[in-house]
Symmetry: D2
Subunit: 437 residues, 4 copies
């Protein structure tokens, strides 16, 4: 039984189909998009979609941005049509009027994207288009509705029911491992030996794939199987360390989770991945009793600076912050020891108390708390890389996933914005203006 | 590298998640649907969706129909909300108002279906739900909007970009071949030997699969590789016939195409399949010069009867029709020879001239003409099975797919309803009231 | 990464290599064999071997038998050379003299077979050659040394270390299942439904494959997972029976074991298969406590007849045997009830006491006892098929494989020819001339 | 359908079987070998073989060498038994006497190795045992007969009919590519980027695998697809070079061929690999017109030195040789230009005229000429790596494989030791004592 890539077949069919067209073979994307939208019939539609996808691969980035702006300006929802269709519906409600209203409220762009997705590699073209869009949205705010349309469609197409969970190890294709090295953003993988260590018997790596992008991981997580909850990431990613016996581990540490496709920003994948991996590991290693992340606190020092500017901290904090800006403080043991309690207290305060729109200010905290995790522990000198020192004075935190509490935690967070934190973390919080010792 | 079924993982995670819930483990589908719609957060949502899918498997058909009616009645679009959202948009147009209008115009049911699709086997549950719906829609016309919602969503999820084309042969799993035997509707496969003949070296069989339904063919086509265009189906499906050398074939006859999933009615798959298979066969066997179907004319005799009732035919036609109702006419050679020219003329007329809403009355003609095929030839005694005689007095027709003409044919049909037919078929048409001979 | 069938490559290379040869393309097998033996260098050797293999496929069976006789007569060990090489060795012992002695003692035929095995499909040709040989060895006893050579080589090449164990189920290729139906000899599989029942969740089927014959099962065993040791085979192979829950089974019954390749007769595969399957099932279903066969007693009635002829039984036995020759005795309940104790006693005697060359006379008993099984139970009316009644008056027996006793049982049998039997079987034995009741 | 590693099953069965044995679980290899040889019955035999294989993994290298010496001394052929069996055969020739003679002439060691091969991983243990043996055979010449036995058996088991040809590319498992880097001996692969270049679209890599060693390549060849015959290896393995379009190549250059398993020394694999790859490439790329190696001349400078010592060269050659011993001569363009003709002449002489036992003195020449290649061209500065300069003053040669001439070339070589060389190479040869220019 032979499985054939459908794309190739349809692509080849498409080429043939368009051979006789009067329009020039290589029209501009804008023209092809208009043709694609106006065609009836799937056969020609697919061929046109394929032509458009091919064109989008070959045009310059500037032309692609122009195409995006064209989509924003010329293929937007026509508010007059919406108002008129709504009026029709109001006077004569019924399925057809409703369908008409929906169609104009959605606009031609959504339909165009759906038709592009019928081309071979259509979904890849759309993901890549959105990646470019997100790089230009700041200077072109009129792209926001285009982005919103794409995100809505991609969320449906990257439904977890369509994904496969893949365990990656040292027998995985070299081409895939090479991508892992490129996509890992949290704790860089400097070379193949480092990667090999991360795929050793006491480590696990899982990724999501979509059937229409079989060679592209969407997101992957790296897990360390250890005894007791890990506090420092450097010891986990040390290339030279000896693998432990995974059967003796009682804790799985999710020490890095990386999204691979910028074009899928906002498409929820991470929480499904974490849950699926918890479930897989539980089956494989019944001895595991605890699942936790070892996570950065990317916004801590930025908040510290803002809080000083806002005058809500003490003069001692001012000095503390200055010292942190000077390289080498981490090696000044006396200073570090004296700074530790205040930094831990400030970090606990930052994670638990500081909110924006009633959600925690820290993005990593938002992600894990919304998934139902608990803020478990603050780890002094958890990540002493340059990046770790810059962002959070070297502090890392554990978020713990306890299957029996995930729903309760999630609901408390979703309903009230409650930050579920362990007693030990809560106990670290001090009034901002009070200086202990 | 291990590929794990994602469903299992998420399903197992889901079980754990719901363990602590206060609501009883096995709530009614209506309750679960309400819970699922009101939850925030993907984790619990997936668990609830899974619970609902499980429940839908275990309830009785009557309870399932009741659930469908509940969806129709209680989860419909709220026209008051639509009108009010439209008013908001009219007075203050903007992305958020538009989004709000879209949401209420879509209604809660669409959102519910999308959330069900996040469960393991969610898509299977929805396809099966729609299959049941279609069996009860006639006596429950209020289910029409539910059907419309499901069809819209399934069309997006069964996008050809997500499908795989699989060539099925005698080495395919027995469990799959068993399904083929069950799903083949055009020319029944009585036993394994008959199937084996249809998978011999001078035959081909291709099917579409979706990654979320890996064990279920969606649609399949059976192809005979022959010399010259085939006119009779019985010779193609004769179990005892000797396989020919496929390398000597110049024509591929698509003699049977079967949809397998009733729940996917209206989701366009057949035209993609035909085109993909034409492309595959061209690559495999460059000697093929012609691609054509050998198709039934399911509505011919029904139209003949209606035309007699409408008084647009002759008295001789009346006698002819009566004789066709008597068993055994096919063996009366003299009668058959005398009937042949008139029946061919009437059939040509029926296929080319008879329209409904400016489209051909015959459903198989509509399908192939819309795909860009040409009505090529009328085959007397093409299918002398009981079904063939009942439907079309044994006539079969060839629709020809010529890659270079597909688009032109399709456009003529799509724009003007033009039936592209060969000279020989056109030449058979006679005025309805004129009796030759 | 692409795995290429090596044979194709070498075959194609071979064709090219021989293109320039002066000898005619299609020489007789005898000529090709001589060429093959005399060539130096693997390249040409492989091409010649391939040519010979092709020729053996195309010649008539009579020509093939002639080739076998040629191998027997013209490629035998040359005893004069052996004696002379032995003399050389005696006077000047050393590695080279020994090597020379070995070579002539082995003879040219063995070397020829080894070279044939270098051709694509060489091993298949040799297995098929031996299959033919075994059909003609009775009338051509001079083929015995050829058979002996082939068996020695095939035993090495079908080493268990080279085999793969495959679990066959309803998802296996139809082409493989078709072979199973053809090869099953013990309890015929009449149709696909019967096979499907034998592959249901409470059944298992395992086969051995060799990498050089990937499409050919070598031997397979069918297993029923049941509660308590099964006594009757008809209930196990009943197509209409409902599958039981395999998780509740405590006993695995090996109710049929079939060799598929006649050309591998005498190559030990069955005992490895049984042991491997016991191990697999133990892992899959830890609840299994007992592993036993449900086996025929193929030689029982033949021995009964011989024993009567030899006058070692009673006159009542004479009457009993006569009655067994009349059809329908099985439905005569009174007779059957009266015959049961004596037939069980005779069968127990036959299995435990009757020997040939100090091994049990019954071939199935020899096989399982040599594997370390114990004769566990005699089952009255275990197989009431025509074959079962003909061979053993419907009696079947269980041989039990108890992992902890296999070695002890095997050694007792191997050293002393001891038949290890349960107390209940031993208790059934009566003096041959004594008639109870 | 599930394919189960047979080894695991048999291994697990084996463990169980030996549980009750009186002998200690972990006996010495010598004891286990004696037990294994004396056992009857496959069941216990396999278990013992497995135990022996496990033991051989865990003992020290010294103990393993002691075991090899034990095999040499205590399990050798018993010449008295051979002489006695030969006498029996002389007086009463017959199949049994012959069989008896063969058995004692083969000795117990061969039988032991065959039994070890029935264990899981038995063949791996034997390959590894021979690898160790070959490292110690120089100081222990009594191991020669052990080596000879192993080579004979391994040659049968690594029959090309049992191997699979695998094309390795950048999608191959990282663990396999890592092995390639380790095993490549001719032109070292310094890092992953270098390897990636060697697997680019204009390169090919093929390896042989054996089913019982699925994770171990046996031998692999690296091929460059180029225009015109390549003369310099550095340009082929240059990491930074741009891949060419393989469809435009007319020549395949086999620039490196590496045996991976030292324990398989003397088992013919390379010639099969070259032929299989020629055949595969011909099918994939019909535009290829020429197949050639780019090969080292490892013995050239060593012979030059010996020839000087033997006084058969000129005083000028003496100076030339001295200069070649001084680093940096390659950058002295004037010297290099003046040395080129004489070095080419000497190299051509060395390859064509210098023999040992009527075969070329150069091992690489022996290999390719015996395979049927022709010595095609001498390439000045073909390999200017340190190794290339040391061995052959930087000279590389092309051996050409022309399918139509392979057999003729091979036979000329095999029968007469003839070195088939191109006119250009032959034209370079000069009398040794004549100095041109």
């Amino acid at each position: 039984m032979r499985v054939i890539s459908l794309w190739t077949s349809i692509a080849d069919a498409g080429r043939e189909l368009l051979r006789g067209r009067s329009s020039p073979r290589r029209a501009r994307p804008e023209t092809l998009a208009a043709d694609l939208l106006s065609t009836r019939g799937d056969a020609v539609g697919t061929a046109l979609a394929r032509e458009l996808v091919e064109q989008l691969k070959s045009v310059t980035p500037e032309e692609k941005v122009a195409f995006l702006l064209h989509l924003a300006n010329e293929m937007a929802v026509d508010s007059q049509k919406v108002i008129s269709a709504a009026e029709t519906y109001r006077t004569q409600p019924g399925p057809e009027a409703l369908q008409g209203l929906r169609r104009v409220a959605e606009g031609p762009r959504m339909e165009l994207f759906r038709r592009i997705n019928m081309a071979p590699d259509g979904i890849r073209a759309l993901v890549s288009l959105r990646e470019l869009l997100l790089r230009h949205i700041r200077e072109n705010p009129q792209l926001a509705p285009v982005d919103s349309d794409l995100q809505e469609l991609l969320t449906g197409w990257f439904n977890p029911g369509f994904l496969s969970l893949v365990q990656i190890d040292w027998n995985s294709p070299a081409s895939l491992l090479e991508k892992l090295m490129r996509y890992e953003k949290v704790h860089k993988i400097p070379n193949l030996e480092a990667l090999r260590r991360r795929l050793a018997p006491d480590r696990r790596c899982f990724a999501f794939f979509h059937p229409a992008l079989p060679d592209e991981p969407l997101i992957f997580v790296q897990v360390a199987l250890v005894r007791d909850m890990a506090a420092k990431v450097q010891s986990l990613i040390e290339t030279a360390s000896q693998p432990d016996n995974p059967a003796e581990a009682d804790t799985a540490i999710f020490y890095s989770i990386s999204n691979c496709q910028d074009g899928l920003r906002g498409v929820s994948l991470g929480n499904f991945l974490i849950k699926a991996v918890v479930s897989e590991l539980t089956k494989e290693l019944p001895s595991l009793r605890s699942f936790a992340t070892l996570s950065p606190v990317p916004g801590f020092l930025a908040w510290f600076r803002d809080a000083l500017a806002a005058g809500i901290l003490t003069a001692a904090d001012e000095q503390l912050y200055s010292r942190l800006q000077q390289p080498g403080w981490i090696d000044d043991e006396a200073f570090a020891a004296s700074a530790k309690p205040r930094l831990e207290a400030l970090c606990a305060h930052y994670l638990v108390m500081e909110k924006r729109k009633s959600r925690p200010r820290d993005p990593v905290a938002r992600f894990h708390l919304n998934n139902g995790a608990r803020l478990e522990r603050i780890n002094w000198m958890g990540d002493i890389s340059a990046k770790g020192l810059d962002e959070s004075a070297g502090i890392l935190v554990n978020y713990r996933y306890h299957p029996a509490h995930i729903e309760r935690n999630h609901e408390a967070y979703a309903n009230d914005g409650a930050v579920v934190a362990s007693t030990s973390v809560r106990g670290m919080i001090r009034p901002l203006t009070e200086r202990q010792g």
